[in-house]
């Protein structure tokens, strides 16, 4: 049976949940879990004062319930086990995680999966800015997969080195900005300056609308990116299904950013005006 932690009341102060991992909570009884200290605002508070506790994390599963939109760091440094959030979460959910899985049934704040190295994060709602990116350290993802059923803010996949991000809705400006490598898939509209400064990596724009491509990208030819046929089943395996026919559609390729290394690529299902 999973460990269930349900908020007792609505909190406006930030709550630091970065230390509450399934592996740490697994050997503890509910009363021991309740005595763990949390940083709430500037004060340390017993976890049991904020959350009602039931079950056990012995099976590696922790379920957070209630309004956690001020809670940050859920799943920080997660290596194994499963974290489910029945509600919305604050910032840095799954930051620096190395394995395991996180499912957020609501929306998430900024920097979901910041600098994560492994594991999967599935956000059923929308996300704030800097998905996969840690602006405090200026570091992006080095592995793992983040999928977002809703939309995402600015700078999705900024400085990503490895790993995959997929967003079903639209994203703000600066997607894959300064990417070192990695893969980002956007099914909705993408904001301006996508790929700005990217060195390597791939951005797939699966919306039929004409993309805003920076002039520092060079227009390439049309091709069927076969790699998508491997990516899509991988995403489907974590609950993010994309029409498999995308893998067999011709896409327009853009190379860039030529102000950087220039080995990055943007694939767009919109073919452009031709040459």
């Amino acid at each position: 049976m999973a460990l269930h932690l349900t908020t007792r009341t609505h909190w406006t102060l930030p709550i630091d949940l970065s230390g509450e991992l399934p592996g740490l909570l697994a050997p503890l009884s509910p009363s021991e879990v309740g005595k763990r200290k949390l940083l709430v605002g500037r004060e340390q508070v017993d976890l049991g004062e904020i959350f009602s506790i039931s079950g056990s994390a012995g099976d590696g599963v922790v379920v957070w319930e209630g309004d956690l939109s001020t809670a940050f760091g859920i799943g920080h440094l997660l290596k194994e086990g499963q974290v489910t959030v029945r509600g919305s979460v604050g910032s840095y959910c799954g930051s620096q995680m190395k394995g395991g899985s996180i499912v957020v049934e609501g929306s998430a704040g900024t920097s979901v999966g910041a600098a994560m190295a492994g594991g999967t994060i599935h956000v059923l709602g929308s996300c704030g800015n800097d998905v996969g990116h840690d602006p405090r350290r200026g570091v992006g993802m080095t592995g793992g997969t983040i999928v977002v059923d809703g939309s995402a803010g600015t700078h999705v996949g900024r400085t990503i080195r490895r790993g995959t991000i997929a967003v079903r809705g639209s994203v703000g400006e600066g997607a894959v900005m300064d990417a070192i490598a990695g893969t980002v898939i956007v099914m909705g509209k993408s904001g301006r300056n996508a790929g700005s400064g990217m060195r390597r990596g791939s951005l797939f724009l699966l919306d039929d609308a004409p993309p805003e491509i920076l002039p520092t990208f060079q227009r390439g030819r049309s091709l069927k990116p076969l790699i998508l046929s491997l990516l899509l089943p991988h995403l489907a395996s974590i609950g993010f299904k994309i029409d498999p026919s995308f893998a067999h559609r011709d896409m327009r390729l853009y190379h860039g950013d030529m102000l950087s290394l220039g080995l990055g690529e943007i694939f767009s299902v919109h073919q452009g005006d031709g040459e």
């Binding site: 490895r162 790993g163 091709l223 069927k224 076969l226 790699i227 046929s229 491997l230």
Partner: protein, 299 residues
């Protein structure tokens, strides 16, 4: 022992421990898939003189391939992991990379060892190659003239067995060809085995050594009908044609099961004797007594 009118001679196949890998090849359509498979498994009948023994294991429908296209599973057997690594890279590089629309994936992810594939072939991209890590597998995208060649970074290698066989002794060549083809057809859907010789059949069964010191193998004169009467023969008095079907498999049960199925599918009118070939039993680690495998794998 009898299978219908056919005598099953008490004999055993002598087989050898080898290393093998399984490649999953996909392509845009059947035409290019067959072309790639044909090239990649060419000149790969016997390690007596070829670098590997290789053949099609089975065709794969779209639902069984990593990229959702038509595919084929190829098995390649070599003496060692090192020799297999060299051969696989060369064969994929020259025969599949060159073939329009193809891609190559690891068909043995649980193999005990791994050998590089895309890790080396990527250099053909001359710096324009790209890699993608999906899950825990790395793939390379090498730019080519029709788009990209997609290839997995490495492929798994495991221990297998090469040299299972049966020999058919028949009244005439027409009946022998018919029986041999029925064997190959029966083995085609079996997973885990290949018949690497032309059309799956050998007419030049060999013995170890030769009167010529430099030859490692020479014709098995005891089974040559044209030599019967001149040299000691193993042929049935009424046999005028013999064929051998050599079977390589991923493990002992696969080879044994295939030998049993092969013998059953060959037995019938015109097939006088079915037996298994060996080199005296001192060379190969694996022995497959034909009657024993028929009893272990009843039809």
């Amino acid at each position: 022992m009898k299978l219908g009118p056919t005598t099953i001679r008490e004999s055993f196949a002598e087989a050898f421990g080898m290393r093998f890998t399984r490649l999953i090849v996909t392509a845009h359509d059947e035409h290019w898939l067959e072309a790639a498979v044909r090239e990649a498994t060419g000149f790969a009948t016997s390690v007596i003189a070829c670098d590997v023994e290789a053949a099609l294991e089975r065709w794969l429908p779209t639902g069984e391939t990593p990229d959702g296209r038509l595919g084929a599973a190829i098995l390649m057997f070599g003496f060692s992991t090192a020799s297999l690594a060299d051969s696989v890279t060369r064969r994929v590089g020259q025969c599949i990379l060159t073939c329009p629309t193809t891609a190559v994936f690891d068909g043995l992810p649980d193999g005990t060892e791994r050998v590089p594939l895309g890790k080396f072939l990527r250099f053909f991209g001359d710096g324009f190659q790209r890699s993608k890590v999906i899950g825990d597998r790395r793939f390379w995208r090498v730019p080519v003239m029709d788009g990209e060649f997609l290839v997995e970074e490495s492929v798994g290698v495991a221990k297998g067995i090469a040299g299972g066989n049966i020999i058919l002794q028949c009244i005439n060549s027409e009946g022998a060809l018919r029986a041999a083809r029925s064997v190959v057809d029966a083995l085609a859907p079996m997973p885990g085995v290949i018949v690497p010789f032309p059309g799956g059949v050998v007419r030049s069964g060999s013995k170890v050594g030769s009167k010529y010191p430099k030859l490692r193998a020479s014709t098995n004169n005891a089974y040559c009908p044209t030599l019967a009467g001149r040299v000691p023969t193993e042929l049935h008095p009424n046999a005028n044609c013999a064929y051998e079907v050599v079977i390589d498999g991923v493990d002992e049960p696969s080879v044994a099961g295939a030998m049993a199925k092969a013998a059953r599918s060959a037995a019938g009118e015109g097939v006088l004797v079915i037996e298994a070939g060996n080199y005296g039993g001192k060379l190969g680690k694996f022995h497959f007594p034909l009657i024993d495998v028929l009893e272990r794998f009843p039809g």
